[in-house]
Amino acid sequence: MSHGEMTVEEVKKHVKKYYVVFGALLCLTVITVGISYLHLPIFQAVLLGMAVASLKGGLVAAYFMHLIDEKKIIYSMLWLTVVLFAFCMLIPLFTLHGYK
């Protein structure tokens, strides 16, 4: 369903979800800060920190940016961006392989 066709009742349901997501984001922020006090080795710390950040980012994208029920063209465009971004990330990682 397009967001342009939403009824008032449907918007009210969305508003309730926004508050729930807001609470979840605040809790995840506390968890993020908590992780830094564990003093984990850098690789594990980056992995865990980015995992929580990805969860938070996913909630913002899915509910606030309405990606949970968006049109196919938007998904296609974003998938292309993800592929290109992953490619950009892999190039330097490959150059690091075997580097001492």
Binding site: T29, T32, V60
Partner: protein
């Protein structure tokens, strides 16, 4: 002669979305690549460095940055609520939520100013070390995006809101696009906060 731009407030029959919405998503895709390039540089440098110049939580103000995170997350909620208010034809509630969004954005910038001046006061500049070069580049670029968002939101709250009287659908579409941009600014900070301040 006036020129009417097609599919601004009604979905395009081919894409299923308005041209404005498609445009803002294309812009955000380019922004993902911009921040992605800088961010991946930081992650690769950080994980492969034998000796990193500084540990974020030792040299940066984590409580202030946590407060900034709360400011941005809250502003993301208020801007989406301002869009929802327009969907419910409530201009007063829109103005209240958009005003709160702008206020929280200014709060973010004030804290950033305090952080920056403290760093400069202690003689820490982008040239000091790789860590500070990365810190000032990423937070500076993000800060410029916050300023851009504030200018847009101020316009939409002030003179831009006159559009609501004659073209409510188009105005709601504008708020949705401004909201998408603002959520992206919040999203970038969600990743910058742990990467710079906590690792």
């Amino acid at each position: 002669m006036s020129v009417i731009i097609p599919y601004i407030d009604e979905p395009h029959p081919v894409t299923g979305v308005t041209n404005a919405k498609l445009g803002i998503w294309l812009f955000l895709a380019s922004e993902v690549m911009l921040f992605g390039a800088l961010f991946s540089t930081l992650i690769i440098m950080r994980t492969s460095a034998v000796d990193w110049p500084a540990h974020g939580s030792d040299v940066l103000n984590v409580p202030l940055a946590t407060l900034n995170t709360v400011f941005l997350i809250t502003s993301s909620v208020t801007i989406v609520l301002s869009w929802a208010a327009l969907k419910m034809k409530d201009l007063k509630k829109f103005k209240l939520n958009m005003g709160l969004t702008i206020l929280l954005s200014f709060g973010f910038l004030v804290i950033k100013y305090i952080e920056y001046t403290s760093k400069f006061h202690h003689g820490h500049f982008p040239s000091t070390s790789t860590f500070y070069a990365v810190y000032f580049t990423l937070t500076g670029l993000h800060g410029l995006h916050v300023v851009g968002g504030i200018i847009t939101n101020l316009y939409l709250l002030g003179p831009g809101s006159k559009m609501w009287e004659k073209e409510p659908e188009r105005f709601t579409g504008r708020i949705e696009c401004a909201g998408l941009y603002w959520h992206f600014v919040d999203l970038v900070w969600i990743f910058l906060f742990p990467a710079l301040y906590l690792l």
